[in-house]
Symmetry: C2
Subunit: 197 residues, 2 copies
DNA sequence: TCCAAATCTAGAACGTGTTTCAATCATACC
DNA sequence: GGTATGATTGAAACACGTTCTAGATTTGGA
């Protein structure tokens, strides 16, 4: 793999970067989007405010990058095992259900990361794209069900895109307190039923 | 109709409210979300900052209310005529196409209103709900195609919900500069094809 | 018409994201 | 080892959403 942002720079720099992202996640987990204050992140990560801004040009970049790291972790884990369920619908719902449950356990963190994702503009396109790829991989893997990666068809990809859209929208409703976590699962179920038939 | 927020208060108050919303739209149309600064809105509407906050408790409330007003206008207009097209798919795409074209002509305004919608939390639930109702009405009317309103089936409503979700997601990609307006139309087309078959 | 209550105004002030700057520190190269 | 270059620090300053206050104005009822 080519040298990416994660592995660039000196040891000390990689350490700083890790501390910053750890502090970000910790603060987000405690108090959500509003608790991720740049001064607090800098303090907790033991770097100066200016340094924080040298590593991440905005709060949104910071949070979306943190989201990418979490997503990467989740997707890597999901990749290791086959998804239970007899039909694509069941398997997709299984993955979505597991994920939703996980998100429910850390509502503040979910709120912070989702808000950042929604607010991100073109300057964060790369990080957003990474998240999209990971999500697509997870759902495609679920439709497939096997350990082996298969080349998804055009229709598969379209379906996955729509599922991702519905998911984001449902998540948005949940993190903004307009709907319940149950509603997320329900609307996913309806959408998946419509799409995988 | 019961006395709603729009018609409550004295003449002078209704006038102030209208001036505020007009100033909001004008600023949004010029410079998008960032240009809608509370001090600028107050100045342009000839009210004090404190008064602005008495009418709308936050910038998000202000923008989402303005969005509701615009949506109401659009839906009222769409209600007056039958939608052209021979199939539900064609008719829905016609409505979405017309709407997307309209939004493209005022990209800054679209950006401001969409961002506000995405950022809105539970305290704006009423205004959000109004927008949802209007959108649902427009798409249901398009599926139907006739002048007469028909009671939508459960499946209709589910489909309309999913279409709305995909639309929001596509719009989000567009207003944040990650995708083109063409992409919006394309992804709507794919989603509608998947759903209305 | 007059008064009490509500509303409006002008402006200061606060919090947090972001920028800037001078001084200090670390690193790489001679 | 010495030095140039870049990174880091600490702190101040700015922008904009939001809150607050004291006084002026408007409104609605007696």
């Amino acid at each position: 793999m080519a040298t990416t942002t994660e592995t660039a720079g000196s040891n000390a720099q990689r350490e700083r970067r890790r501390r910053i992202l750890d502090a970000t996640i910790a603060l987000a987990d405690t108090g959500g989007f509003d608790a991720v204050q740049m001064r607090a992140v800098a303090d907790n990560a033991d770097v100066a405010l200016g340094t924080l801004y040298r590593y991440f040009p905005s709060k949104i970049h910071l949070l979306v990058t943190a989201l990418g790291r979490e997503f990467e972790r989740a997707e890597a884990q999901s990749r290791t095992r086959a998804v239970p369920g007899d039909t694509p619908h069941q398997r997709v719902m299984h993955v979505l259900g597991v994920t939703t449950t996980a998100l429910q356990k850390q509502p503040q963190l979910t709120e912070a990361l989702t808000r950042a994702f929604m607010f991100a503009d073109a300057s964060v396109a790369d990080e957003i794209h990474l998240v999209g790829i990971k999500l697509t991989a997870m759902i495609t893997h679920a439709i497939d069900g096997t350990d082996e990666a298969r080349e998804p068809t055009t229709e598969d990809m379209a379906i996955v895109r729509v599922i991702g859209d519905v998911w984001l929208s449902a998540l948005m409703g949940w993190v903004t307190g307009r709907t319940s976590a149950d509603d997320v699962t329900k609307s996913m179920d309806v959408a998946v039923k419509l799409l995988l038939r």
